[in-house]
Every structure is written in C-alpha cells, then in structure tokens.
C-alpha cells in the first residue's frame, strides 16, 4: 500500500495549523513520514496537548496535605487515612457521544475507569454529568436514551456503582451534547502505580484487547468544531467491551500485586502513541516499538493505523523482566492478550518499526515537550443585562411548574438504568445531595457529587466558576462529609475566539479562588474545547466532581426530615433572581447577574452544618441551589413523604424569597427543642440563620399559597418519562 505524500495540506487534514507543521519541519530538519505526521497530530491536538489551556490550568491550586498526587497522572490521588487513598478523575466524551450516543458514552465510562485502575485502584463509584439540547430538538431524545443506555451498559457490566451525576437541558447544547464521566477508586496509599518508565532495556508489554481500526484519529476529531458533516465522523468513534475491561481490571490488579509492574499507562486518546510517549517522557527514556508484535484483530493494518487506533480496553506496561512468565500466566488466566512490543532505550528517541522498516524515528521528548502552547487572546465577558421585573405569580403554582420542569424533575428515570448498588456499599443512593459509598470493610465512607450551573458561568464566568466548586462543597457538607478535593472537566467552545477564551479564563479564576478558599485542591481534570456546531458555542460548563470523607456512617446527614420538625434556613438571603431557575424554566429568561459567592461565608456555613450534626442537633439537611428555598423544601418533603410549611418573609417579594438563588445556604430540619441552640451556634459561628417553617401534613405551603405533596410528587416523578415521550 502506498502512503500519501506528506505536505502542508495533509497536515491540515490532520488538524495541524501551518505554523505547527512548520514547527515539525524545523524540529526534524526533514519532512515527516506519514506515520510520523499521524503521531504528531495525535500528540499536538488540543485534546492531548492542552495547548490552549495549559497556561491557565497552571494557576489552579493543586496541593494540600491530603494530596498524594495531583494533575499530570492518569488520575488524582488523595489520602483518606488508614493507609488508604481515593483515586479519581472526570473526563469528557462529548464529540463521540454526539455522533454515536451509546458507544460514545460507553467508551467514555470505559476510559475513565481505566484511568483509575491504571493507578492501582479498584473503582468503587462512578458519576456522570450530562448536558443535552432542549427536549424539543429532534435529536435530543435519541441522545438522552442512547447516552444513558451506553453509560448503563458499560458501568453495569463492569460492576461499578453509578451513584450520581447531573442531567441538564438547554438549547445551547442542541448541536453539541456533553458527556462527562467520573470514576473513583480505592487503593493502598503506598501501592499507587505511575506512568514513568524506569530502567533501560526493560520490556514494554501490550495488554488487553486486540487493536483494530476503530477510533483512528479520534482525538483529532475531538479537537475540532462540528459542521454539517458530524455524521460522517461516526467511524472515528470506538466500540466498548465492558466484559474485556472487567477482565483487564482484575488482571491488572493481580499483576500489580505480584510486583511485576514498573510503570503502566492506559491506551486512551491516541492509543499506543500517547501511552508510549507518556511513559518514555516521564521516565526520561526512549521507547522502541516493534509493531509486528502488536495483537491485531484486523488484517493488514498499517503502522499509521496501529499508532493512532483508539481500540478500547488496552494497556501498556513496563515489566520487570524476571516476572515475565508470572505476568503472562495472569493474563492467560483472564484470556487477555499479552505481548512484548518493545523496549526502553537510553536515548531520547521514539523508534517505531513495522514489517522490517522504520516507520517513525522521532525525538521522544519533543513530542510532548515541544508541543505548541498558546497564550490565546481573550476578552472579559461583558456583564449580563440587569434583571428585568419578574412577573407576579402564585408561589405554589410556580413551584409545581418548576419541580416538573425538564431541569428539576426527578432523575430516577436515568439512574434506575444504572446499577447504583453493585459492590453492596452504597449507603446513600442517587437523588440526594451527594451519594455516599462505604469504604469496604471500614467504618468510614466517601461522598461524591458533581456540580456546575452553566447559566451562571455564561452570565458571569468568575462567579460561575466559584459557584460550581461552592455547590459541590455544599452538597458534600449537606451530606455530612468533609470536602477533600475536586476534579474539573472544563467544557467550552472554540478557544480561538477571544470571547470564548474569556469565558474559560474567567471560570478558571473562579474555580481557583473557590478551591483555595474552600480547601479543595484540583487533583485531576480534563479540558474539552471546540464544543461548537456551526459556530454556536455551548454554555461554558466547567463540571466539578468532588469527593468528601466521612469518618463514620454516623456522620451522614439524611435529606429526609421527620414529621413535626422545625425548618431552619442557614445562610444569608437577598432574593437574587438573576439567572435563576425560576425565570429560565418559567419564562425562558436569562437576564440578570449570576448570584455572587461569598467564599468565607460559604465555608463557615458548611462547617456549621457539620458541627450541628456532630452535636446531634439536626435530623436532616439539604443544600439550596436551583429553585432556592421553595425547591429545597419541596425536595425534602418528597424525600420524607411529609408536607412542609415555609413562611413568607417580611421585606421580600414572595417569588424572590421562595425562589431566589443566593449562595451559601442550607435548609435544616431539627426538633423544635433544638432550634434555639442551632440559632445560638449560628450566631457564634457568624452565620445567618432563621427558623422558616416546619414539617408535617400533606401539603407544601409557601406562605399563604399551597399545593398538595401528592400533586408535586406526580409532576416531579413522571416529569422525565413525559420528556421522553413515555408518559
């Protein structure tokens, strides 16, 4: 087979800009071979090189006494005591999921699980943050059904409980849905595996499934905008095999326990290329690959195809040579491929042979080290228009419409398709503030949540970035967990547009400020840019996945109150309706500034809630977010199966009081006798608090207006099936 001639136009087809191609010519002093061009395109695309985002990612706080390993490895590693660590990351699979929802989402889950167990951790929880276009869009239902089915198909078979996440609908995602998959695993803190190779002449071993032509060029595809031809990109989407992944997990953990592994890297985006370069680069070594040894499932694959294949469920490993027989036996036990495909070499060189010929001979370090890095021009996002007057409406009627709306109705339709209980340690199931998973065999537990409010990020990127982290902090605190750290999955439009770059910069600054103030360092993450179709960008969507620790299950704060209890509102209220769920869901309005987050108040409020639980003063807690006080009260009532009455407040317009989205707030339930002490504790902590109502009866009362709890349940619980045209 003849290879195409390498020139600037072929480079452009590979997503390389003219100056980037020139950089390659200068670096090599010659024209690259076809395979080499493919390797450069894989390493230098946005997805793998972070060339537009690196400058700003470096500004995020990534350190803390709890952090064992921050960004730069397959996943972040955080100390949870007793010699144990939680390993987690969130990663996007947006473009593939839009093209082929089932496989796109499934392989997104597969990729993030691999990132976690590559580090020696057994996955114990998964989440996913999904953003779809408006339900009226002809494509949306098919995407929702396919993505949810794909996530379930992969996670359920693999055997990881999918315990949380988000689903949102907004027309800005009509042409570009977001699928952000999170996974967390458990490892011994002294048994973490990294990707840096060490030792010269060490065997490089290929593990797992065979290599096919699927996904060739996937990472490059994911680094471009979509046009009308999105459908034609379907062949670049990979096909997932969760059964193979499950065997790969067990085999890798067995292999790691045997002491055979020097370093290990999963083959994700840009497959063999990215994983081999990563191991060599981190270990200051060269890598020599012999592609004739690569297990292939298709005939006559070229070096180019093998180097760029994104076939799933594969790993690359540097092995202790004396352990080869033992390692091979483990993989044979699990019926997986095991092949020595190369060696580490002392010089800075990436040498790829195939069929007796040298197909690539490149300076290895330059592939990652010399990747372009851009300081993209950006402009500050203009302030959102001031909030126009909000029409008057009966609060109970507004509540009924909100809790049945696409963005606030129950997500049970989604999470009942995910096995959220496998491994039998799920203590708090989906549908609460944060899910809680017990650390197997221990008293302690981990809490997981995923948050962002893209409406806020669009209106005010800095405050929106802060709010995403603050809401994650709040969800963990409302569950009784001490927040540990976060992973960020930053989804934005085309960074070459200064306005989009401005959104990115603003959000990063906000995330950084909040992570600093709330002591939740960023330990891993992923950037997904070019989320645009025909020039229309998504809402800026920096998904924050957060993990918290509970020393014992007794620290869990339920969301469901008892009957006849008092409701206490924690935090300061101003009735902020700008960018609120109320004005968006009811009137499709997106005016006004995003609510501002007072990070000091946020931290104090979270610490107060946990202290009140420790004192045994509260029975339930729920964070206030979309839909404010009224929606929080209604959700607590629905969880408990008891009515609530929330009083009106003097000095507030009813809708502003009940639906305002001021930040840093919680609704607590407590026995009447405890209210006085709660208020006193709040004063002592410098946190606003007031008694706002009580539980009981079968109505949800907002001041003078009311709606039956049964009616709210009906619209809330059937809402999603209605959206999907099933009810």
């Amino acid at each position: 087979m003849t290879e195409p001639e390498v020139n600037q136009s072929l480079a452009a087809d590979h997503g390389l800009k003219p100056d980037e191609y020139q950089r390659i010519l200068d670096l090599l002093g010659r024209t690259p071979s076809f395979t080499e061009l493919g390797i450069f395109s894989a390493m230098w695309n946005e997805h793998c090189s972070y060339k537009s985002s690196k400058k700003w990612l470096r500004t995020l706080p990534t350190k803390g006494p709890q952090v064992i390993c921050g960004p730069g490895e397959n996943a972040g590693v955080v100390d949870i005591g007793d010699g144990q660590a939680v390993v987690f990351k969130m990663e996007s699979h947006n473009h593939p999921s839009y093209i082929e929802p089932h496989q796109g989402a499934a392989t997104g889950v597969g990729g993030i699980l691999r990132d976690v167990f590559t580090m020696g951790a057994r996955p114990i929880a998964a989440m996913n943050a999904l953003s779809f276009g408006e339900i009226e869009h002809p494509r949306t239902r098919r995407l929702v059904a396919g993505v949810v089915e794909g996530i379930g198909a992969y996670g359920n078979c693999f055997g990881v409980p999918t315990v949380g996440g988000e689903v949102r609908f907004h027309p800005a995602y009509n042409g570009n849905c977001l699928v952000n998959a999170f996974a967390a695993g458990l490892a011994n803190a002294d048994k973490i595996f990294y990707s840096a190779a060490s030792g010269v002449g060490m065997p490089v071993v290929y593990l797992g499934a065979k290599t096919g032509r699927d996904g060739v060029g996937g990472a490059t595809m994911a680094s471009a905008e979509f046009g009308e031809d999105a459908e034609e990109k379907r062949p670049t989407v990979q096909v997932g095999d969760p059964f193979t992944e499950k065997r790969l997990l067990e085999a890798c953990l067995e292999l790691m326990a045997s002491g055979a592994v020097i370093s290990i890297q999963d083959m994700g985006a840009a497959g063999l290329t990215c994983s081999a370069v990563e191991m060599g680069d981190k270990g200051d070594l060269g890598i020599e690959l012999d592609l004739d040894a690569v297990p292939c499932r298709e005939q006559a694959m070229t070096a180019y195809e093998m180097m760029l294949s994104e076939s799933q469920e594969r790993m690359l490993m540097v092995l202790r040579p004396e352990k080869e027989a033992e390692a091979r036996a483990i993989f044979e036990k699990w019926d997986l491929d095991f092949a020595i495909v190369g060696h580490t070499i002392p010089e800075d060189r990436f040498l790829v042979r195939h069929g007796g010929a040298v197909k690539a001979d490149l300076p290895l370090k330059a592939l990652s080290g010399s990747a372009p890095e851009y300081d993209r021009p950006w402009v500050e996002s203009p302030p959102a228009p001031a909030l126009a007057p909000v029409p008057d409406m009966d609060p109970a009627e507004a509540l009924e419409r909100l809790v049945g709306s696409p963005n606030l109705c129950s997500r049970a339709w989604v999470w009942q398709q995910y096995d959220h209980m496998v491994l039998a340690d799920t203590v708090v199931r989906p549908g609460s503030d944060a899910a809680v998973v017990r650390v197997h065999g221990m008293a302690k537990a981990l809490a997981f949540t995923s948050d962002v409010t893209p409406r806020y990020c669009k209106a005010n990127p800095f405050e929106g970035g802060k709010q995403a982290v603050a809401e994650a902090f709040r969800n963990l605190s409302a569950t009784g967990a001490r927040p540990l750290a976060v992973t960020d999955n930053l989804n934005f439009g085309n960074p070459e547009k200064p306005a989009i770059m401005g959104q990115f910069v603003g959000c990063i600054k906000g995330i950084g400020a909040a992570c600093e103030a709330l002591d939740m360092p960023v330990v891993s993450g992923n950037v997904s840019l070019y989320n645009e179709t025909n020039g229309e960008a998504i809402l800026p969507t920096p998904s924050i996945g957060a993990v918290g620790l509970l020393a014992s299950l007794d620290e869990i704060i339920p969301m469901a109150p008892g009957e006849g209890e008092a409701l206490v509102l924690i935090g300061h209220s101003e009735g902020h309706l700008g960018q609120s769920a109320l004005i968006w869901e009811l009137w499709r309005r997106s005016d006004g500034d995003a609510p501002h987050v007072d990070l000091r108040a946020e931290r104090k409020a979270g610490e107060l809630v946990r202290a009140l639980k420790a004192e045994g003063l509260i029975t339930a807690a729920h964070d206030l977010s979309d839909g404010g006080l009224a929606v929080a009260a209604a959700e607590m009532a629905l969880a408990a199966g008891t009515g609530v009455a929330v009083e009106a407040a003097e000095g507030f317009a009813p809708l502003a009081w009940f639906f305002g989205e001021d930040q840093g707030r919680y609704l607590l339930a407590a026995p009447e006798a405890a209210v006085e002490r709660i208020l006193a504790d709040a004063i002592a902590a410098g946190v606003s608090a007031r008694r706002v109502g009580r539980t009981g009866g079968d109505m949800v009362r907002l001041g003078a207006s009311a709606v039956a709890l049964a009616r709210l349940r009906e619209v809330h619980e059937t809402g999603f099936a209605r959206l999907m045209g099933e009810a």
């Binding site: 089915e149 499950k246 009942q416």
Partner: protein, 233 residues
C-alpha cells in the same frame, strides 16, 4: 455452613454474595474459579452470583453454563446440594438445565435497578423458611434480562408444586402489573427446583442484608440456609 461462590470472569456480585453468606454462617465463603473442574469437598451451599459472566452480549448465562465448574455444580445439585443463583446466577441455572423456563429482556427494554417488593410465596424451602410471618419483603433488582417466561403448563405445574418462591408484589402483597419491574409471567421473581434445593431469583437479597445499606429483608434468606444446613447436620 460451608459455602462457595462461583466466580466467572464477568461476575461482579461475587464479593457481595460472599459477604452475605459469610455474615450469616460466621465463616467465610470459598471463592471457586470457573475454570476449576471440581468443587471443594464438604460444601453445603453453592452460590452463583450476579454480574455479566461472559459479557452476556448474546444469551445471558449461556457460555457460563458450559464452564468446567458447572458440570460439578450440576452434579452437586443432583446429589441434593443446595444451590442459589441470583440474577445472572439465575440465568446460568436455567441455561444449565437446573431450573425450568427462560429469562427474557425486560419488557421496558431498559436495565432496571431499584428496590421492589416481593411476596414470599412459600416457606417450604431451605431459602425461605426463616421468613416466618414476614411475607412481604423489600429487595433490589438490577438487570436487563429478567422477565421470567414459562408456558401456561409450566406455570400451572410450578404453582401446583409450590415451587414459586417469590413474586413481585405491591405494598399490599398483590401481584399487580404495576408491581412487576420486568414483565415476568405471573410476576414470578424466583423459582425452586423439583427437590426444592435449587433456587433461582432475579432480585438481590445479598444487597439488603446489612442495616447500614438501608434494609435487612434479604438477611432471612441467608439465615434460612444456615438453619437448613444445621438441621441436616
């Protein structure tokens, strides 16, 4: 009680099952690899756990039923051994010919994971004797292919022989359409073999056998096993 859990490459509820068996018996269950040809000696109970034994891309449990270990499990059952199959384990028992009927894709065509109510239809088995007066229990399901299918003659026979162990039920214990998560004929959730010593069921009793997980209605099933074994000994 000496118990063993069979581990197929795609089993993922094997540990959950071992924990529940171990907690009830006071001694750990043994894990047995599917490629083994024999069971450990002296076993009282063999459990086939939930999961996706061989990926289950085609007919669930069909490949697992032909594993080397399954010949030993079938022999064990034929000798009167107690065999419990949950979810994928139920599918495997049917494929291995130890239980009649078939399990088809859920009527909704969707995977379903949630708590369901079950009526305990018989106390006359080593799996259900400890339920006593507790005839309505809450246990989770988590499956894509759980619709039990049998022709009218088989259903009539199972009913006549009191071999239906559990049915999906509403809060009042009635086997209604709304209470059925998968379209199973007659709301059948679990069936017994002719000698009553093999049980296959779609719901997961091992997932609600620990109060910290929000329920213990699965625990009497494991207690029943311990009692049955100690009575026999």
């Amino acid at each position: 009680m000496k118990s063993a859990v069979i581990v197929f490459p795609g089993s993922n509820c094997d540990r959950d099952m071992a924990v529940a068996l171990g907690a009830a018996a006071g001694r750990p269950a043994q894990m047995v690899w599917h490629k083994d040809a024999a069971l450990p000696p002296g076993l009282d109970v063999v459990a086939l756990p939930g999961g996706f034994s061989f990926g289950d891309y085609l007919r669930c449990g069909a490949i697992a039923a032909r594993s080397p270990i399954m010949r030993a499990v079938v022999d064990f059952a034929h000798r009167g051994g107690i065999v419990l199959g949950v979810c994928n384990g139920f599918q495997i028992l049917i494929e291995a010919g130890l239980l009649p009927g078939a399990l088809m894709r859920n009527q909704t065509l969707k995977f379903v994971c949630r708590d369901v109510m079950l009526s305990v239809e018989t106390l006359d088995s080593p799996f259900t004797s400890a339920y006593g007066n507790q005839r309505l229990i809450r246990v989770p399901v988590a499956h894509h292919d759980g619709a039990y299918v049998a022709d009218a003659a088989l259903v009539a026979r199972l009913e006549a022989e009191d071999r239906i162990a559990f049915r999906y039920a509403d809060a009042a214990g009635r086997a209604t359409l709304e209470a059925n998560p998968n379209g199973a004929v007659g709301n059948i959730a679990g069936v017994l073999s002719e000698n009553r010593r093999v049980l296959g069921m779609m719901p997961h009793p091992e997932r609600l056998a620990d109060p910290r997980l929000g329920g213990t209605d699965g625990a009497p099933l494991f207690r029943s096993l311990v009692e049955a074994v100690s009575v026999a000994a």
